[in-house]
């Protein structure tokens, strides 16, 4: 971890692995989408609409995963003063917010034919919505504070306090009786979902993860470039 603290070294590594990650991402999406749209059977109850799951569920996983990444990066920044951790946390937020929005939107589209309503206020949906608000609040902090060092300090605290919500989202379907179905993949005693649907779902989950890694690396690279530009501007002003 300390090895990557040097932005130049990090950039070198990121540039080297990025093409491979993009190729893996595209490959996984191709396999996952084929599995999801063609080989997976329609559900005996839900019919073809079950295919929304292959977009919806991984997006929801990623929304939680990205927030956890953000909180972890914030903790690393707070404890080790790792110079890139703040940048990693900062650029993860918009990506996570998009995943969060995607899961809310596809969930809404799925909910209309299945539950008869676009939106219901039950525990899973509400806590997911709160997660969306946390993402927005975190981004608002970065936008509102001009001085980057102070913004980083404050953003770490906001990210870590908001992390309390992540386990609430994960277990909301177990703690409350909810309209949303309970966990059927990552649960004690193994998945309850049928194999023909499970493998495309897991492949899609992996594809989303690699997509996030790729987008994250690109954004960190952009953030480092933005910092350099800022430094150049400041030194130009100093030269005058």
């Amino acid at each position: 971890m300390q090895y990557l603290a040097n932005p130049t070294r990090f950039l070198k590594l990121a540039n080297a692995v990025l093409p491979y990650i993009w190729v893996i991402t595209i490959g996984l999406f191709a396999v996952g989408l084929y599995g999801a749209l063609f080989t997976a059977p329609p559900d005996y109850q839900q019919g073809e609409t079950v295919r929304i799951m292959f977009v919806h569920v991984p997006a929801a996983w990623m929304a939680l995963f990205v927030y956890s990444t953000m909180a972890l990066a914030s903790a690393i920044a707070l404890i080790f003063r790792h110079p890139l951790a703040d940048a990693a946390a900062k650029v993860a937020a918009p990506i996570g917010a998009v995943f969060c929005f995607l899961s809310l939107a596809t969930g809404s589209l799925w909910g209309k034919p299945m539950w008869g309503a676009w939106w219901v206020w039950d525990a899973r949906l509400t806590s997911m919505f709160v997660l969306m608000l946390l993402y927005l609040g975190y981004m608002a902090i970065w936008a509102a504070i001009d001085e980057p060092h102070r913004a980083a300090m404050i953003a770490r605290i906001v990210a870590l306090v908001g992390f309390i919500n992540v386990p609430i989202v994960k277990f909301s379907v177990d703690w409350w009786n909810s309209l949303h179905q309970p966990a059927s993949v990552f649960r004690m005693g193994g998945p309850t979902i049928d194999k023909s649907m499970l493998w495309p779902l897991l492949v899609m989950g992996l594809a989303y993860t690699f997509l996030f890694v790729a987008l994250h690396l690109v954004s960190i690279r952009a953030e480092i470039a933005a910092r350099k530009i800022r430094q150049i501007h400041i030194s130009e002003i100093g030269d005058r």
Binding site: T126, S127, V130, L133, L134, L136, G137, A140, I141, A144, I145, R150, M153, I154, I157, V158, L160, V161, G162, I164, N165, I168
Partner: protein
């Protein structure tokens, strides 16, 4: 301990003598409660059903509106700088200020709210559970407001940002506070369980809030 009490007393005296503390928060609360039946219509049964929720939301908003006063003045006139150098750990300073905010604003509101429930045709049987839940919950509300206030203390337009940051944290308090207040309607077991969870939320925020607030304030004071 003596110093912490002195800090709390100082804040209480300041908020009492300056005016605009508990008084204006109560005024805001009253205004919301009066506006609500006008907006919804004076249907007594409907009002009785939504009364606990309406009171809780008014409480959240009033506490949130008064949140920026927790640190703002002391930050601007430099008192906080001096407090960082004092013998009291800065986390305890933050805790003392949150406690003072609770005593001066949230607690009076929590006591007044069930009584204002008469305006909304609140079921008399829910007055006691509502009062207990609100008193417990208001501690958590003040502590969480303290995090929001500390995080935005140096910003010129921090007011709206506080709402975006703190309202998501208020959601669990609202959910469990509400189900604890509806004792007769939902049955005693559920109300007790909700009250216990509300206590747990309060205890967790009691630990998290001073740490987070102090860390945020420090980064502004540097």
């Amino acid at each position: 301990m003596k110093l912490i009490l002195a800090l709390i007393r100082r804040d209480l005296v300041l908020s009492y003598r300056q005016g605009g503390g508990a008084g204006s928060a109560l005024g805001f609360f009253l205004a919301v409660v009066v506006l609500l039946p006008i907006g919804i219509g004076p249907d007594q049964q409907l009002l009785a059903r939504i009364a606990p929720g309406a009171l809780w939301i008014s409480l959240l908003l009033s506490v949130l509106l008064s949140a920026d006063r927790i640190y703002q003045q002391d930050y601007e006139d430099g008192s906080l700088d001096i407090m960082t150098m004092g013998p009291v750990p800065f986390e305890m300073v933050a805790l003392a200020k949150s406690v003072a905010h609770w005593l001066s604003t949230s607690l009076p509101l929590a006591i007044a709210a069930p009584l204002l429930g008469f305006l909304l045709n609140l079921d008399p049987a829910t007055i006691l559970p509502l009062g207990i839940a609100m008193m417990l919950g208001s501690i958590a509300l003040s502590l969480l407001a303290s995090i929001g206030a500390a995080v935005t203390v140096g910003l010129r337009r921090g007011g709206l940002l506080v709402s975006i940051l703190v309202l998501p944290l208020y959601v669990p308090v609202l959910i469990f506070g509400l189900s604890a207040s509806q004792g007769p309607a939902s049955g005693p077991e559920i109300a007790t369980a909700a009250l216990l969870i509300l206590t747990a939320i309060t205890l967790v925020s009691l630990v998290v809030s001073p740490l987070a607030s102090a860390a945020a304030l420090r980064s502004y004071l540097k």
